[in-house]
Amino acid sequence: MIDRISGIALNTFRESIRDKVLVTLIVFAVVVMGSSRVIQPLALGEEAKIIKDIGLSAITLFCVLISILVGGRIVYREVEKRTIYIMLAKPVRRWEFIVGKYLGLMTVLVVSLVVMTAAFYVILLVLGVGAPLYLLLAVLMTLFELAILTAVAVLFSSFSTPITGAVFTFAVYFVGHMSRDLKLLAAISPSPVVKAVSYFSYYVLPNLANFNIRPEVVYGVPLGPSALLLPGLYALVYTATVLLISTAIFNRREF
């Protein structure tokens, strides 16, 4: 089982790193981080904070893009190219295939995160604005968020086309960051339809805003361990659930 899952994951990883999309996105992220100096700060003391904020935001944004763009076609591509026939005719269970694909993409994202973060720290050191290690907490939270988002991308990819998949995954990302507003909307809206939709979205879609601790780390606000543990646990449970649903859907598919 481990061999089969790791085989599929490694293949997915190889496929992605030999793909131009990934390299382009990583290079672009580094360029954006490096050019943050160009954006002149309003107040002098704010410069360091803005550079850090832009850097961390760029890391998150580009990894989210990788997750959506690569993840959105990850299963579809195997169906379209008919490589799925070869895979599923081997003694590979369908859930192993889904989990393998997911872990392969997560490996790609971890590597991308490491590369971008390393570049980020180099830029901080070169600019001499200070490079405290606690900024890494924000990167870790981004990884948790990516775990959820990638599972959602795999879910859509297991039954829809890449464009639809990417659009829906992006929608989940977008709405997931408005969870608080949704709850508020549900509470105050007079329309029962709006109320129902908002409540549904609030409870079913992932609450991604919790994973954004960039302002806290940039401004040096102290964070307790629960600020990391709870989101980590949440990401784990949410991811597992989405992968279970993906498998259930994929199990019923015919090729």
Binding site: D3, G7, R18, D19, I86, A89, P91, V92, R93
Partner: protein, 318 residues
């Protein structure tokens, strides 16, 4: 009762209906198909384009579910990983990962098939040698020709040395030398006690190597058995060439035959049975000056067989 060895592949009253297009038009790809493949035989699954060969194979591989009926591989449902661990599969016009080299791809195939790590590298090299792909071993498969992809397809199917090999149009995209090598590989598998199930629409593929064939036309199994029995069970025609024929003997000879064609002093007669050949021989002995110079039996070809059945099927369908 259960002393008989279990068939490697067994299909019982299998039907598959596809719903296709916007109007969900019903397509009956398979209708009431039954067949069994025994251990150690080469079974050819023969039928014209669109007959349903790929559909049956996909069901056997657990890629598609039948609408009704059952399919079993090694006595298990096709989706069972224990069944799949014992087989190798080559899909129709196979396509693989552009980004992998031939060696990486076969390594992946070996790993997924449960080949031990210590053995994998040797197996991969062995397959590359068997299919004469050593020169392309470390090249990405992106630029591979159709024939090279076909070779990679068979290599990945055989890499775990499976007991059953299922091949969908294995000769597709191969040149005559490739086809010959392929036939040798298949016969070699049988000699090593493996079971081979393959589909094709080309008669010469099956004639030389198959132990048994099943002929499927428009989703129905019209014949299962040994190819020779299937084809000679039908009416043959025999062409007899007689030399030195004059106007008078021509009339006598034409009365015996179904069809005749005169060219110079030679007469080409077409008859239905060997008895009629005997009568022509007798006449030639009685009448002086004429001689039988050629007897060519015309076996019914598989093409004739296809055509006749396709015409019949066309008549009973919408």
């Amino acid at each position: 009762m259960s002393s008989l060895p279990e068939p490697v592949v067994s299909v019982t009253r299998l039907s598959k209906v596809y719903h296709s297009g916007f109007r969900m038009k019903r397509i009956r790809a398979l209708e009431d198909i039954s067949l069994e493949v025994e251990k150690g035989e080469i079974f050819g699954f023969l039928g014209p384009n669109g007959a349903g060969k790929t559909t049956l194979i996909k069901i056997l591989m657990g890629l598609t579910e039948p609408t009704s009926g059952t399919a079993q591989v090694f006595g298990r449902p096709p989706r069972d990983a224990k069944a799949k661990a014992r087989l190798g599969f080559l899909p129709e016009s196979p396509y693989f990962y552009d980004h992998l080299t031939a060696r990486e791809f076969l390594g992946l195939a070996a790993k997924l098939s449960g080949v031990q790590k210590s053995e994998a590298a040797g197996r991969v090299t062995g397959q590359l040698r068997l299919l004469r792909m050593e020169n392309a071993a470390d090249v990405q498969m992106r630029g591979f020709s159709r024939g090279m992809l076909q070779r990679m397809g068979i290599a990945q199917a055989l890499v775990a040395d499976p007991e059953l090999v299922v091949l969908d149009e294995p000769m597709g995209g191969l040149d005559p030398i490739g086809r010959k090598e392929f036939r040798d590989i298949i016969v070699d598998l049988r000699d090593r006690g493996k079971t081979v199930f393959f589909s094709t629409h080309i008669l010469s593929d099956v004639e030389m190597i198959c132990d048994r064939v099943g002929i499927v036309i428009a989703g129905r199994m019209v014949e299962v058995g040994r190819l020779r029995e299937i084809l000679t069970g039908d009416v043959e025609s025999i062409e007899v060439t007689v030399r030195g024929v004059t106007g008078k003997t021509q009339k006598i000879l034409e009365r015996v035959s179904q069809h005749s064609l005169k060219s110079g002093d030679e007469l080409l007669l077409t008859v239905r049975s060997e008895e009629e050949v005997d009568r022509i021989m007798a006449i030639s002995r009685e009448v002086g000056g004429i001689r039988v110079v050629g007897i060519v039996p015309h076996r019914r070809t598989l093409e004739d067989f296809f055509m006749a059945h396709v015409a019949k099927a066309g008549g009973t369908r919408d």
